[in-house]
Amino acid sequence: MSEIIIVEGVVKKYGDRAAVNGLDLRVNEGEIFGFLGPNGAGKTTTVRVISTLTDYSEGSVSVGGHDILKDPKEAKKLMGVIQQHISLDTDLTVRENMMHHAMMHKIPKSERMRRINELADYVGLDEYMDKMINTLSGGWKKRAATVCSLLHKPKVLFLDEPTVGLDVQARRLLWDIIRKLNDNGTTIFLTSHYIEEVEALCDRVGIINDGKLIALGTPSELCNKLGSTAVEYYGADNKTEYKYFTSREEANEFASSLGDVKTVIIRNTNLEDCFVELTGKSVSGP
């Protein structure tokens, strides 16, 4: 499997503070890659650096074999970005926004309408095409932004916290769109702090903290590093504690040995456990 994004030793500093600090990352073509991290860990900065919006101080980044500094035009052709905030022109209708994006991407006139209609149909936006952006709900705006970012047929789609502010239905519909895009060959780079989102969608996950990649692997690989079974117990000191074990038997044995506790739950370890252990204890301290 070829690597479509290669990030090597990237450092991005704002003043004296390094938002990204020596990041090495490789994303395979065709995968859904999840990028997790607490607030301020460097997720958005990483996406901005790769997508050419923010310069970096050290290192190198290439997308589809094109160095983003030496050959930004070719790299940009391969990338689409759906940003955390809605980045659509509120004075234009949905269709006008899409047409504007298509022209900015130099899509020939003969293809513009066909592509817009196809993608609008793909995300179920057909009946909203002539509505003003401001009249749409957050979920529909996100879909409109999705179409805009896909018009030039990017090979990699970046989604920066795509479901922030969306209700459950809108979130699940967007997940389906992401899966469908990936099934059709688009590589997805997803940042989120919703762990269930990353768990539901991603083939591989990278965890960033303080600008550094601290874990990388499939969700199950990351969980197994902690131990496949978790014991969650709420003790007499009114504090929930977590312990991880390599087998259910060990977990049961530990749970039985607990004395005065109010609640005990034995369950499979999940990505949230891994995230908290890595970012909350091992790396950042308690």
Binding site: T52, D55, L92, M99, M103, K106
Partner: protein
Amino acid sequence: MNLKAVTAAFKQQGIQFLADPQWIIPSIIAPFMFTIVALYMHTDLTGPVVLTAVLGGGVLGMWGNMLFASGFTITYDRYNGTIEPIMMTPSHMIDVIAGRSIWNALIGLLNAVLVFISAEAIFGVGVSLADPLMFFAMLVLTLFALASIGLMLAALFVLTRASFVVMTILQFPIYVFSGALFPIQQLGVFAPISYVLAPTWSVDALKIAAIGHGDTIVSLGLSFNVAIAFVLMAFYIAAAYFLFKIIERNIRESGALVRY
């Protein structure tokens, strides 16, 4: 230059202009109000003074429109968060600004023509033009002279949150120093400022085309004015290009494309 991007920006600017009625105030209403006041002030006068009043209204219309539109060109995208999707396309920022400036120039020109027509129709003080074709050509030159200053300022407006304040402050000095309001000789020691403004030379060329002579101290004829205006415009455009490059680099470094 990507013509599709220029066209897209032109269309977008047009839709925004028509969708947002606030632009009618600086672009249409203010110049008309000014022309009306100026013409009332000069009711008993004729010739060059009336020309100054009518020209003043026309130039104010063009400048007001160019200034506000230029100032808002990038600021609007930063407010809306739409500047980043633009920066991620293979098109250059200058394509976008060019497309929008062409729309603004057309509105400015339309505005000036409407001021001249209404001065004739409402007040009956139309200016008899020595060379109407040349006058129209010089009107277009004035428009581009103002647009080139607007382009340079558009880059600077990116740097400040107070772009609206700066726009408002800048509205009248250019109008005064360009000689559209009154002959620049009356500016005394401040007159040299006028000579580094391209609109001074184009407005003077307008007067030459209208009544056969201008107001500038160094008056070597219409061709000379046009040449100086072009040189100054080239300087503004080059300055705007480099300013945009520097600003783009700085905001990429600071990660502050969207600041609001």
